[in-house]
Amino acid sequence: MRQKSMWKWTLVALIPVSFIVFPIYYVLVGSMMTTSQIFHQPPYLIPPNPQEIVGNYSRSFRILGPYFLNSIIVTLGVMVVILLLSPAAAFALAKMRLKLENIFNFIFMLIQMLPITATIIPLYLFFREFRLVNTFVGVILGISSFAVSFIVIMLTSYMRSFPVAMIESAEIDGASLLGIYWKIVLPLSMPALATASLFAFLQGWSNFVFPLTLLQDDKLYPLSIRLFTFVSEFGVQWNYLMAGSFIYSIPSIIVILIGSKFLISGLTAGAFKE
């Protein structure tokens, strides 16, 4: 009896959830139709002949194929930069009581508030001077310039909760600072580092504005920019665009469905930090 009444709430919850998921569902539906079916009147909300999926996906795979590697390089680069820089800085902020701690904290917090346009104009002009425009390095540095500080803040609030005793006893045993970091702090931070990696992945994979601004050679485009140029180039081939968009979304969807617990705890920890 009780069980039954609880399923009632599942049905109620389904209403807002369907509205929220609908646009993403429609990308999937669109990828299973021809363009004329996508624009059929009245509109199809379920694909009339889903076998279109084969043609759409194989065609857009062929178009997008070379750009996958670009997206992967950018994403891995962003992850490496973030995981090299952020955990160490978070350790320092959480446990070391540094003299300039407040200034460091301020810098990282400030970046969180900045819009992308606050830095992208000078960044573009500097990168032009240093020949970093049209390189993956430039794009990776650009994306990381915002993401590093976000992850520092997130990891700091996690590392603050570590028991000091463990670190102190290691100190007494004569462990070096690097040893403490490597053998105690990092292993203890594994759940937070997993969350940080997921975020780093999503940042690198989804970022739009840095590759849009810094890459002019279309051979270097990651999937986001390649898909952005899709419409103008192919006229009205929305079926390929939808198929390509869905392929591009799959890694993010997997990350969210598997890691949503981690992502949520990481986000709320960062947000409620005082």
Partner: protein, 289 residues
């Protein structure tokens, strides 16, 4: 940790140097450029000069900029309002125990983490003249003829706001949902004994306890919304006829569309100043609590 001395700074310096080099230094230069005549031509001829407040004066006299101010206001206020209300209602609903709840929470989080290019593209497909929304409403005979959602200069900003509300629901939902979980059940039980039900219970018990979290959510929501760039750039590109720009897209358009980097920098400095003012005001409210 103190006995390790200056070695400790080795842990924070890489991240600090990186952030100063690639974010703080450009931020400062953005202000410098806003007082300079930096265009594609001046860069090639290396003739960029200080021109005082000219970029700012030009900006303030620019009718598109005035339109942009109004747009940003409409976009931000409506987005925050509706994201918050919808997110709060869903959070109240999910505060109950029911089967498949955790899975449905993951589904609600999707809009946040799906690549913005994808959500922007599908909303463009929805809002086009022959897009899904018009055909859907036409076939239900709810509208006599197509509604120019993103092709009419006066409507585009509202359509963009609708898309952005969708985008912001997960964030508002999850903060409020996490906050609600911290409200002790006993409070509700004692209120029920006193005869408080439904809306009353929410208004008089939940809202006051959640106040700090509500303010944090609104504060972060404001910061995120004023910053929006990608969504607008993908759906309308600021058009038609520059009618749907936000500060961010207009600044970008001036710099990378018109190659007037100085003017673009001026617009983005004005934007940063506004963000600082908004954040300070909301922070004051937060601190007063």
């Amino acid at each position: 940790m103190d006995r390790f001395g200056p070695k400790r700074y080795g842990f924070i310096l890489p991240a600090i140097i990186f952030t100063v080099l690639f974010a703080i230094y450009p931020l400062i230069y953005n202000v410098v450029f806003s007082f300079q005549d930096v265009t594609a031509i001046s860069l090639i001829q290396k003739t960029s000069q200080f021109i005082g407040f000219k970029n700012y004066i030009d900006t303030l006299n620019d009718p598109i900029f005035r339109r942009t101010v109004l747009n940003t206001l409409i976009f931000t206020v409506l987005s925050i309002l509706f994201q918050f209300i919808i997110g709060f209602l869903i959070a109240l609903l999910f505060n109950k125990e029911f089967p498949l709840r955790d899975f449905m929470i993951s589904l609600i989080m999707l809009p946040w983490f799906i690549p913005i290019l994808v959500s922007g593209t599908v909303f463009k497909l929805f809002f086009m003249d022959m897009g899904l929304i018009n055909r859907f409403l036409l076939s239900l005979k709810l509208i006599p003829k197509i509604v120019p959602w993103i092709t009419d200069a006066n409507m585009a900003i509202y359509s963009l706001t609708i898309a952005n509300i969708w985008l912001g629901i997960p964030f508002n939902f999850i903060l409020l949902y996490t906050g609600l979980k911290g409200v002790p059940v006993e409070l509700y039980e004692s209120a029920e004994i006193d005869g408080a039900i439904g809306l009353k219970k929410t208004l008089y018990i939940t809202v006051p306890i959640l106040k700090p979290i509500i303010i944090t959510t609104l504060l972060l929501g404001a910061i995120f919304t004023i910053k929006v760039f990608d969504l607008v750039w993908i759906i309308t590109g600021g058009g038609p006829g520059n009618s749907s720009h936000l500060f961010s897209t207009y600044s970008y358009q001036l710099a990378f569309g018109n190659y007037n980097f100085g003017l673009g920098a001026a617009v983005s400095v004005i934007m940063i100043l506004i963000i600082i003012v908004v954040v300070s005001i909301l922070n004051l409210i937060k601190v007063e609590d």
